[in-house]
Symmetry: C2
Subunit: 291 residues, 2 copies
């Protein structure tokens, strides 16, 4: 069993030092509760709701900046893994929406969000690298960021790479949902976990920011797709979501005697041109891709 | 709005004529309630729990057999679409686990299950064709069967082909789940619907068969991923699950001003060899595929 925590809190737009310092306060609390892997929200260091790319650039840092250096020091001191989002400087270009993985005693590993949500494409540069899969003493962990989680093609990549836990810093904007329904993002996180038999820890943020209310639905899901701990959805507040997860469960992809979520893929069929696709549909799709 | 129904019932193993006749009784009830598209379970004509391929062969029929002919006649008479599973004869080979789509006035369209669950691989021949997408007066409908629904690669294909509703005959074996959790199959159906913005009608079966208890969790999910009607999970009984669905919702893939579930895919990245995959992981994956 590995104790995993998501520290849901409310970073303030542009206040890098105080946001990072606050995240480290939460980290110490989570480690005091026994957590060995601690996940923070998307853009923990900078906040999210930038009006333009220049604002984001001003709150961005290099990998040797205050955010990643402070997290590395804290991770080393407490011998616990940190996964946290930060706004990463990109010389002469829009910054990246990145996440740093700090494994004690190892160099920081950086992932850059590949699927940019909505107006983020006017703020950030999309990443072009696959989600890294990193060996730790607890198991192999991977990282994706928010909207990345909505693309099953993207989650298959670390699953095939042997990830046992996918850490996902997220900022889920609150949208209407039917009474008694979980947020759709949580449902899709459960599905991605079970379709790949990999645990997922998604750390959402609390509060509101320039008119955006956050869902505050941090959740830790096991390899069977069941939420083991989830934030109290009635309280859009700072919360530590924490769960003991048996990451070795992710090593078996078996669903039954013969069935296996990865081996049963019909890769012989997925990439062949599908003859029933009308030319019109193909054209439309190509236009979408090129946009 | 289109009224869609799932007729959850309990076919008896091997009794093709009486199973088909009973399905048509349920069809008339659903049409009397206003349904224009009616989905039945996987292997409606034959039952599921065959001990071996010979037993399945004995309950199999060609496309011009009693099952598909009777459904075609009923669909034409009532001017409503039928989607139903049947055991399809495959000369000199194991039969197919197929589904027929009967659109009034059109020839039957057949789909053969591509992802065989567990011991099905000892009973059936897997299909090699993509899910068909069929124009109807209500919109474009596609069909997949049970375990197919667990593979996001497979659901993308009809979504890209313009499907507005995916009809899924299923037989979901009951497995343990935490208290107050929906069956995982329902969660994944919700996720597949919302990740593709396509409605899904999954018709499960009732009863038990040779020691297999069925989940009896028929569900109709809209393009946002919300269940509009779902079987009463406390009653493993015959039920007609019925919902009005606006299939035109599936035509827009937009989630926000800029975001679009299909256009936002990073197809430039999905199929490239992922350099972080260790050779060991790649070898393991290839072995799994070749198995």
């Amino acid at each position: 069993m590995t104790k995993i925590a998501c520290c849901q809190f409310a970073p303030h737009l542009g206040r890098v030092r105080s946001n990072v310092d606050e995240s480290i306060d939460h980290f110490h609390k989570a480690v005091d509760e026994g957590a060995r892997i601690v996940v923070f929200p998307e853009l923990t260091s900078s906040g999210y709701a930038f009006s333009n790319s220049g604002e984001a650039q001003a709150a961005s840092e290099q990998i040797d900046g205050y955010a990643v250096s402070s997290w590395k020091q804290a991770a080393d001191e407490r011998n616990a893994v940190i996964v946290a989002g930060f706004c990463e400087t990109n010389e002469h270009e829009r910054p990246y929406n990145s996440a740093a993985v700090l494994v004690p005693g190892q160099d920081p590993v950086i992932y850059r969000k590949a699927h940019l949500w909505d107006a983020e494409r006017t703020i950030f540069t999309p990443g072009d690298g696959a989600p890294p899969v990193i060996d730790t003493e607890h198991g192999r962990i991977a990282v994706v960021i928010c909207y990345d989680l909505e693309f099953p093609e993207w989650i298959r990549i670390p699953a095939l790479g042997g990830a046992e836990l996918i850490c996902a810093p997220v900022n889920w904007p609150r949208v209407p949902r039917p009474t008694n329904e979980r947020p759709g993002e949580v449902v899709r996180t459960q599905a991605q976990a079970s379709m790949n038999r990999v645990a997922i820890a998604a750390c959402d943020r609390a509060g509101a920011e320039r008119g955006i209310d956050w869902t505050s639905a941090s959740v830790i899901v096991d390899a069977n797709g069941w939420p083991i701990d989830m934030a109290n959805l009635d309280q859009n507040l700072n919360q530590i979501v924490i769960a003991d997860i048996d990451l070795s469960e992710s090593r078996s992809k078996k669903l039954s005697c013969f069935s296996d979520v990865l081996a049963d893929r019909r890769t012989d069929l997925y990439f062949a041109p599908a003859d029933y696709l009308t030319q019109a549909a193909l054209r439309k799709d190509n236009q979408q891709i090129q946009r």
